[in-house]
Amino acid sequence: MSVRADNKNPSDAEIEFMRVFSGAVTLRCWIFVAAVSGLLIVGNLPSPLFAQETASQGAAAPASPPAVQPDSTGTHGGAGNDTTVPVADAKAGLTIKDVADRVGKNVISINIVWTLITGFLVMFMQAGFALVETGLCRAKNSAHTMAMNFMIYPLGMLGFYVCGFAFMFGGGGGAPALGTSTAVLDSMCHFQFLGKTFNLIGLKGFFLGPSVYDCGVFALFLFQMVFMDTTATIPTGTMAERWKFSAFVLYGLCIGTIMYPVYGCWVWGGGWLAQLGANFGLGHGTVDFAGSSVVHMQGGVIALIGGWMIGPRLGKYNKDGSINPIPPHSIPMVMLGTFILAFGWFGFNPGSTLAGTDDRIAIVAVNTMMAGTTAALATYLWMVGPRKMKPDPSMLCNGMLAGLVAITAPCAFVNSISACVIGIVAGVLVVEAVFFIDRVLKIDDCVGAISVHGVNGLWGILSLGLFADGTYGAGWNGVGADSYMGVAGKGVTGLFYGDSSQFIAQCIGGLACFTYLAIISFIVFKVTGALSGGLRVSPEDELDGVDLPEMGVAGYSGFAMDKASETPHSH
């Protein structure tokens, strides 16, 4: 017969050698294990000899300090020199004030550590976004999509460092929980109207200069920088597979400088939306705990405008308007990315207390978990039930992310039942939004980012205005520090708990977010498109896949790839 797959069989001698050799290795392993076990046992046995020696030493030299013993129980913690309380006045000795100062200092330290660690978790969400977006694209565009998600981290950082942070937080007073004096970030551009002050934009902290060279400010910068980068990486999903890389780079510089920080200042930096409560009695002003609107809706609106301006991928829509779906190249990558994002959200939301000493973090974390999981369940049931579909994994991922986006604003202010309701609504909303944007608006959103972040970001801040139960946030945005609605200690309260003005403040916030971002996105995409000779790659490059023409290397070099099956043909 023509071909025999002739695998070379090992000779008898080789087999004998392998048997002896593996036997020898096994024997050595056993000797090693036995030796280690022996050492461990000897080390743990009570040794009368050792005890006698210690006792005789103690008798001979009673004045010497006690020998430092390993503290396996933790009962002697704090005895080391590095953790003793510093004494202010050596003559007076240790005073209550010294101890109180140290306790206060520890609170700040815990808060800074908490803010940094949760910030690191949020930074890792970049990896999640990269995997989700790349997995949902076609293999021929994978290097390009991954590179956008990669480069947005340094590009966004640059803009935020130069002026974004100053615009957003320069007049917000910083975060007292991080030990920063309110006088450090105190420069706000504002105007007077109707006898009220409207704060527009912060003006201090450019390049993190000497005036803000402060540990608390730097911790705040790190945390807020990775939040900004979350917004920045949302439009790369919607506009993937066709965005010219040079145009994307210019956008990356704009996002951290002028796109993100303005609305951010209005809500988080003490701007006019945050002042709606103090100025006009609208609840606690626009409240957004961790950024349903500040982070996600902003990204969603940029994605909406960008997706509309760049146009659908070639082959997505036929002449009669019917849709050719473009299936993803790696669902496992998408689901891994979603898990990473859901994990990172435990930094995103609980970290937004900026204080590990705020025990509310437990409630925030549970609400985050509840909304994400109930949303994924709701998406599943909605698809297999009313929509009569198979449970498309890409939609299940969108569903979980939608729930997480929606709970981001209200996570600190609602109870667990409300968190579940918010998640369930988000899970259904995201499916319908994907259909609506695909079929009615005909904006080609490769990953569903507009539905996940834009639509559910809006739902997030509105749901806060409905479900906030008043148990948290007393004195938020300077409203009701002593008492609110006649109750001492009452916090942010939504429509269902008796404060309709909070819901109005949330609506104004959503409207302002959409308006500003729509306008600035339109300008930025127009200008960056003009500067780089068009937002979009040539049709030939797009059909070939943008990896080689734009990046010079394929995402999967050496793999056979059937491009004919990847690109639907319009007809």
Partner: protein
């Protein structure tokens, strides 16, 4: 000599291989292919929109046999690859002019 090209379902490859080896046919070449016949593909749904999968993935098995063994081989393939459902595939047979074993230079039936 004849060349048999059998386009079969992926999960039938192992059965077809064993059946052919059983009949003394020990060499074959396989390729991942895509195509459609009378069935004209099928529809799937992604993100709520139905789409046609016109080219269904299949495996193509190529076997070269002596004329005398042709019937045995095709019968073995049909028996092994059949499920009775639409999409079982097809067998094409063609004449083959020459074959050469590269190692020895043998030609014709000796080289199969």
């Amino acid at each position: 000599m004849k060349k048999i090209e059998a386009i079969i379902r992926h999960f039938k490859l192992e059965d077809v291989k064993s059946a052919l080896v059983e009949k003394g046919i020990s060499g074959m070449t396989i390729t991942e292919v895509r195509g459609f016949g009378r069935q004209k593909g099928h529809t799937e749904m992604y993100r709520g929109t139905e789409y046609r999968v016109d080219f269904v993935p299949k495996v193509k098995v190529e076997v070269v046999v002596d004329d005398a063994k042709l019937h045995t081989a095709t019968a073995a393939i049909v028996k092994a690859a059949q499920t009775g459902q639409i999409g079982d595939g097809k067998i094409f047979v063609s004449d083959l002019e020459e074959s050469v074993r590269i190692r020895t230079g043998e030609t014709g039936s000796d080289a199969i």
